[in-house]
């Protein structure tokens, strides 16, 4: 099954020299290097293809990789992409919705605190299947605690934790990575 619904101008090839292995390690939770890995990948991708439009990259079957500008409407793009990516392997519409809400929360939060850099593309969204579970990584160059207001941010965190089986956030001076996992939700292929 092909990865559906590319963003922006279609699926782009990965530029030369972009090594996804640190990002894939975050996805698989074999190693959690923090935001630096996702930011390095985002910087290389946007250097090759400057924003501000959203981009999808060809990372083979079983995974999807998007780079998104820090705009509120990209949450809708992200959840639509992840919904179709996971649709074949998701047991129920309610479970699909849980995935969509959690992804929307992660991306919306990243949008609200990301800085975007010179080209305005600050978000990396990577989705794949690891050991029979859907894994989602959202990376950005902002700090989690920059996001106002506290009540809204708290609700987003509560929903992510309640709707996923794994949810973790790593934030430092360079940026933030959120990792979500959904047991029993598989996408085509798998890593």
């Amino acid at each position: 099954m092909a990865v559906p619904g590319p963003l922006g101008t279609g699926v782009l090839p990965l530029p030369d020299g972009v090594d996804l292995s640190p990002l894939l390690a975050v996805l698989a939770d074999r190693d959690v290097p923090g935001p630096a890995a996702t930011l390095a990948v985002a910087a290389l991708l946007t250097a090759a293809h400057p924003c501000p439009d959203a981009r999808s990259y060809d990372v083979g079957p079983g995974a999807m990789l998007d780079v998104l500008p820090a705009r509120p409407d990209v949450a809708a793009m992200a959840r639509r992409r992840v919904r179709s990516f996971a649709a074949g392997g998701t047991p129920s519409p309610d479970r699909q919705d849980e995935v969509a809400v959690a992804v929307s929360e992660a991306v919306s939060n990243a949008v609200q605190h990301a800085h975007g850099g010179a080209d305005g593309c600050a978000l990396v969204l990577l989705v794949g299947t690891v050991d029979g579970a859907l894994r989602v990584v959202v990376g950005d160059d902002g700090r989690w605690d920059d996001t106002p207001p506290a009540a809204h941010r708290g609700r987003g965190t509560t929903l992510m934790a309640a709707l996923s089986d794994v949810s973790a956030r790593y934030s430092d001076a360079q940026g933030t990575v959120v990792v979500l996992g959904f047991d029993g939700v598989q996408a085509p292929g798998g890593l």
């Binding site: 509120p72 809708a76 639509r80 919705d97 849980e98 809400v101 609700r155």
Partner: protein, 124 residues
């Protein structure tokens, strides 16, 4: 949760989506002594942002009605952006001594309200 009312009242304000990627509309009318807000589509941080929903707030403030009924039967997606909007509406009503009743919410939307601890804010 109750069924939404059948309406013959005229809409007093309507807000649509900020983006082609997000199906969304919110329409307000006065009916049976309440400010009725019918929401359709996806309520998220973009579509339900305070600057987007401001015309609804203004219509409520100008309406003279106190109680609010929010019809969620057309909602296909809601996250914390939508929840924050519901809380803002509730705060505005509470400031007038009014209540906010939610009707027609799909069960998974009601579950999000419960998970967030927000269900007690709204009238049964």
């Amino acid at each position: 949760m109750g069924d939404p009312p059948v309406s013959s009242a005229r809409a007093i304000v309507r807000v649509d989506s900020p983006s082609a990627d997000i199906p969304f509309s919110a329409e307000a009318r006065i009916e049976s002594g309440a400010f009725v807000l019918a929401v359709s589509g996806e309520a998220d941080v973009a579509s339900a942002a305070p600057e987007r929903t401001a015309p609804i707030d203004a219509a409520y403030a100008a309406s003279g009605e106190v109680d609010v009924l929010i019809d969620l039967s057309g909602v296909t997606f809601l996250d914390s952006g939508g929840l924050s909007w519901l809380v803002r509406v509730r705060s505005a009503a509470a400031a007038r001594g009014g209540s906010v009743r939610l009707v027609g919410a799909p069960s998974r939307i009601e579950r999000l309200l419960r998970i967030s601890g927000l269900l007690p804010l709204f009238a049964a």
